[in-house]
Symmetry: C2
Subunit: 582 residues, 2 copies
């Protein structure tokens, strides 16, 4: 029988080798930490992954490793944690912004001009040069720049560059010509056209007047959309983000995601929220799409807007702005319009995610949710996006109605001075009230609102439990009573950001049955001081059991014209085949 046994072993080995479908891969020798189902940290040393990219087992130090494996990666004791999830971002905008001209780091006009010239030379196929970040004060220019100065650098094609604050933009003559702007053009209410000596537009357009030129900027062609997609995906993966909500997917955004999925270039998980009921129904017809491309894409909901932002006093408040008596902001739609849209979406089973920043806007969305909850029962997970300023009287309504508060910790640190000015001290009780909202039993999902803020989730996580900015300001944190614990803030960037997208059974933790989404980092996030946590370096990012990003390596092939590009290798880059039985 000895011969037979030996033969049997050989046959089994051969079977294991020839039938990868039945075998696992192992990521071993990790210093692993995840949250368990209840949000408690849990350590581990190995992850077993099946060929579909799902975790089959999480191993402790003493657990025996399987002998039959397709591949094995030795992490040499490095820290491994779940991929981070951004609960609120704008995927394509992130990519478009990254591909556009960035002048935010220019310290002189000469440096800016050189950068503009270099960008124009590097991008000969772009019909328009767009971008922004300029600041004539930082340049020490003492005046706005002019169209003539841009013409000297880029004479032939339109250039249109936003000022750093987004409240002005700078055009060259080709851009003004393309937009039909002349000396006779009149600035709309709330806007100003800067004039030159002869009364002709000098090239800078302020506030509402920016639209005069902006309307002429052409929509990005599909190839440019592809480039923007790949850049956004690279940025997110490099930040350790393995899944993201996309808040406001247009039909063309959707076509881009499908283009990438069809060609095996989609790596990150995208929880898509359509930019309108119409888009949702054209794509999903009678409800969310299935999860597509191995759980990498799903259109599950609809993003709506009820008000604007606090900075521009567009947020809709119950009482007037402290710094603008008589102004309360304005709703972007009537309550009937909002109800109708939410109802149309909910009728088809789409999740509703409504932007509400001011306390009046939040109260109105909560009213709508309460009104609709009678008709649309079941697990709805109504979302309020931002939920920045909430009347303390309205807070319990989040928990009572199972509303997901989709919040962005870095907005709090960026906005705090402005928010105090806009609201006055007495209205801050329900402002960025993460802990109070969580205390009502509601889920708080964290995100970054990229590209408005950086997508770096470690900055968000640190802000989430310190209420301090990157400089550690203010000392002790801003209204620190609203800080979450370190674990709760982590949970909001993983488990609850997944929950907010109906994905908590697939994403957010390292556990059996979940997608093998994890990151290798250079420090232990459960131990690092806040400033250290912010500085976390992501070394590797894995999605669905595949290594999709490595520090210092430009990732992901760019599709070329006419043919489908070669798919990214399905096997992990660094995985070495393992001899069976060892």
């Amino acid at each position: 029988m000895k011969l037979l046994n030996r033969f049997a072993a050989l046959m089994l080995a051969a079977t294991a080798l020839s039938a990868p479908a039945l075998a696992d891969g192992l990521v071993d020798n990790v210093d692993g930490v995840t949250l368990d189902e209840k949000g408690r940290p849990e350590r581990f040393t190995g992850i077993l992954i099946d060929k579909d990219g799902t975790i089959t087992r999480v191993l402790g130090r003493k657990d025996k490793r399987p002998e039959k494996l397709d591949w094995r990666t030795d992490m040499k004791g490095r820290v491994v944690m779940p991929g981070m999830i951004d609960g609120h971002g704008h995927f394509m905008e992130l990519g478009f912004k990254a591909l556009s001209l960035d002048l935010s780091d220019t310290k002189s006009f000469e440096e800016a001009k050189a950068k503009i010239a270099a960008y124009a030379a590097a991008n000969p196929n772009r019909p328009w040069i767009t971008g922004g970040g300029w600041n004539q004060e930082k340049w020490g220019l003492g005046r706005f720049p002019t169209a003539a100065e841009l013409d000297a650098i880029v004479p032939g094609k339109p250039v249109w560059l936003d000022r750093v604050d987004g409240h002005a933009a700078w055009a060259n003559s080709a851009a003004m010509k393309a937009a039909g702007v002349t000396a006779k053009s009149v600035a709309p209410t709330g806007g100003r056209i800067e004039k030159g000596p002869g009364g002709a537009p000098s090239g800078v357009f302020v506030d509402a007047a920016m639209a005069l030129v902006a309307k002429a900027v052409p929509a990005a062609p599909p190839r440019e959309r592809n480039a923007a997609f790949l850049e956004a995906q690279r940025i997110l993966l490099s930040n350790g983000i393995t899944a993201t909500a996309d808040m406001g997917t247009s039909l063309d955004d959707w076509l881009t995601y499908r283009y990438m999925g069809d060609r095996n270039l989609l790596r990150i998980h995208i929880m898509s929220y359509a930019n309108s009921v119409e888009t949702a129904v054209r794509v999903g017809v009678s409800g969310p799409t299935p999860w597509l491309y191995n759980d990498r894409l799903r259109m599950g909901g609809i993003k709506l807007y009820l008000d604007g932002a606090l900075g521009s006093r567009g947020a809709w408040l119950k009482a007037p702005y402290a710094d603008a008596p008589g102004q309360t902001g304005l709703p972007l739609q009537t309550d009937t319009q909002l109800l109708n849209q939410m109802s149309r979406g909910a009728m088809d089973g789409f999740q509703l995610a409504v932007h509400a920043i001011g306390d009046r806007a939040n109260a109105e969305v909560l009213n709508a949710i309460e009104e609709l909850s009678g008709s649309y029962t079941g697990d709805r997970r109504w979302r309020i996006e931002h939920a920045q300023i909430v009347d303390p009287a309205d807070l319990p309504r989040f928990g009572r109605n199972g509303v997901v508060a989709s919040m962005q910790p870095v907005h709090q640190t960026s906005d705090r001075v402005m928010a105090e000015t806009r609201l006055g001290a007495q209205r801050l009780a329900g402002a960025y009230a993460w802990k109070s909202i969580a205390a009502t039993g509601a889920r708080v999902a964290f995100g970054s609102d990229y590209p408005v803020e950086s997508p770096n989730p470690f900055a968000g996580w640190a802000a989430g439990f310190t209420r301090q900015d990157a400089e550690g300001q203010p000392f002790g944190g801003w209204r620190p009573e609203e800080a979450l614990t370190r674990e709760a803030a982590w949970r909001a960037f993983t488990i609850d950001a997944a929950y907010a997208g109906f994905a908590e059974k697939k994403l957010g933790r390292i556990a059996p049955g979940m997608r093998a989404d994890f990151i290798v980092v250079d420090r232990d996030p459960t131990m690092a001081a806040p400033a250290e946590l912010r500085a976390t370096r992501v070394l590797e990012t894995w999605v669905n059991g595949e290594k999709v990003w490595v520090e210092g390596q430009r990732a992901l092939p760019v599709p070329e014209g006419g043919t489908a590009p070669a798919p990214v290798a399905a096997a992990p880059v660094a995985a070495a085949p393992v001899e069976p039985g060892r």
Copy 2:
């Protein structure tokens, strides 16, 4: 060693059983006939199919059947042949037409009114009742019907019904109201509004005046699109069509196909041609999409139009119409516009398919192809759709330029009397010239142009080698010198229709490496007399190795609101598991 050998055999058997990926299914005991690579009939008795739905072997009577099988279906000697391929159809239009009200078989006004009432009652959710096929002559009415008569049947919602010839349509008051038509409405040039006693519109609109009401008919909502899709798919599969070109896919059509593919409801193979360069580029960006859903869907090309149809004298002729001196028809775009569009599409690697019916239109498309062939080399397979009337001097240009002539045999039988009137006897030499075009070395792909004609491919096949209609008229065939052989006409509905869509390596024959697309029919199509061939009954239709339609059985689940419907079973319905070793 005997023991070892026996053990090895057992292990191998176990391996085969536990790894279905390695095993095949068998369709056995068939009276099979296909065309070989060169278009010659070839008999067989069994088809081995792998789990992906690809044919691995075609077996003859004497070939030994494998012992290890996942499933086996005994066809009990029935005739099995390749699925038919329609080289030119309008998929969604077929479904919409099938779902609309059909009055073409009504013999009296009373019968028509009853049918309208029944349809309205059966379709309470349709915002408009649309359809057509009425003929007041056939009813013996001696006048047009009126809006008031329609109001008496369907008072509340708009009704809009085309006359059988498409040159008039009948509205009720609600439709006229929705369209804003009043007594003051003026008919456009080329149109007429029928008037009642008081001068008010009586309800019938002729020719160009039809647009006054037609413009108000709302676009079909996505749910209705889904229903139309499923109905079209059912009709095609029931006709034995396993693959079809879709000539003019809109973006919403594409979203419908993806909806179906994502939910495993897409069964037929669709070779999609976008309805514009813009649609193609939005979907494919830089070229054709990959084959999706196991080769069931691909957007590979773009459909363009150069002229209209012969019946309405829209076909663009070199010399005036015989029955309308001074008229030569009109191109729908200039040669520069056509060249620009073809060039934009070809630059990205899309296949171009241009509608050309008149001899001038055909010559102009051939000019464009010759001009572009210098820049766009390689395997382009330029297509001319219909190619009905070709100047004999232009015929060799098809072969010389590798142009695919996409033709519809039933158009010839439907059009012949009209064509003789429009063209006169001397211009028929290049009319519906299948054999002459094929003789130039060009590929002739056959289709039906459904829903303009019935999609029944057996009618098309029979016409293809007889040049006779369903009544056997005219005796001996119309210009029978242009008939193909029975085998060549079959080939045009299989091998060459696949070739026309760049799919000849996947579709069109029963051979190893091809998709397991076949139909079970009630007679041998290589033996049947033409009238018998037309009457062929399709008993079963299989696509990708799955039985997707059975005679007498309503097929395919209809998706329900909110959730993805259960996928159609992947295993063949009638397949019985087979014991290994038997």
